[in-house]
């Protein structure tokens, strides 16, 4: 019982500190980062770092990307030729004005390549779960994991 109280107390402290860290980041991050998707959707113009999805590259001279922030979004024209297809993800650091964004630095993630990250990540889950439970078992009485004696 005493151990359970100690663990609950420690857990409360860790969670509180984690919340404080998150809150500190949320309230201050705009001072240290380039304006991003949120500011662009609100109408900010200037040097920005944005992330979006290519939605129209049928005309090779123009590319449009859909920039999202939560449920809000905005279409931004890219004032440069990019080797992209619809659905590709792009990160752009550049200068945004009313005509569009002039990229200074761009990273393109091909649509298939981006989704492969998730597939490779999903493969890791059963591997880790299997290896973990091969060596550890949960003691429901004490609510703790213990090493398996037979492993």
């Amino acid at each position: 019982m005493k151990d359970m109280v100690r663990r609950l107390l420690l857990a409360s402290i860790f969670i509180s500190l984690l919340m404080l860290l998150c809150l500190y980041h949320y309230l201050n991050h705009e001072r240290y980062e380039y304006p991003g998707n949120e500011e662009v959707i609100k109408g900010f113009e200037g040097e920005v770092s944005i992330y979006g999805v290519v939605i129209n590259s049928s005309d090779s001279s123009e590319t449009y990307i859909l920039v999202k922030y939560g449920s809000k979004s905005r279409i931004v024209r890219v004032l440069s030729n990019l080797d992209v297809e619809n659905g590709d993800k792009v990160e752009i650091l550049g200068f945004l004005d009313e005509n569009g964004i002039m990229p200074e630095k761009t990273i393109v993630y091909k649509k298939w390549s981006y989704y492969l990250i998730f597939i490779r990540s999903v493969i890791a889950i059963p591997i880790v779960v299997y290896i973990f439970f091969k060596y550890w078992t949960f003691d429901f009485r004490e609510m703790k994991f213990r090493r398996r004696k037979d492993a």
Partner: protein
């Protein structure tokens, strides 16, 4: 973020190499904890679930992908074990391998906030992009070699 397979395999490979010198890494149950630890920083990916509902949480949960945030998460997880101190140290080693691998990556701006909350400086080497499958391929080959040798 290289994919989770890369992170888990990198942790596995490091443990087996270190196991030559340090006995603690020769025990499978310790290696499994390091592998779990290697995924701790990517708890931040719960933001993807919120994305599905159009809720933007990334600016709030970003500290989960910092060493300070990972320390706290490792502390929380270790409370679920009898040998909490040993498990905590193994988890810390695990998430250190995660940051080592992520350090190779590059974005158009920013980088990892390794010293957050004391500094907002972003660190990245910019050698690979997050969708680069070659690093995973190399790690799969190395892991198979190590598994067959040891």
């Amino acid at each position: 973020m290289p994919d989770w397979l890369a992170h888990v395999l990198f942790a596995y490979i490091l443990c087996n190499i270190l196991g030559i010198k340090f006995e603690v890494f020769t025990r499978g149950n310790n290696v499994s904890i390091v592998m779990v630890g290697s995924l701790i920083p990517d708890i931040v990916k719960i933001g993807l679930i919120f994305d599905l509902f159009g809720v933007e949480v990334w600016d709030f949960i970003a500290p989960l992908h910092t060493p300070a945030g990972s320390l706290l998460v490792a502390g929380l997880i270790s409370l679920l074990f009898y040998e909490s101190t040993v498990v905590f140290l193994l988890l810390v080693f695990g998430f250190t391998t995660h940051y080592a691998l992520d350090f190779l990556m590059g974005h158009v701006s920013g980088g990892m906030l390794l010293l957050f909350p004391f500094s907002w400086e972003g660190y990245q080497l910019g050698l690979i992009h997050c969708d680069d499958y070659r690093i995973t391929l190399v790690l799969v080959v190395l892991a198979v070699i190590i598994y067959t040798i040891i």
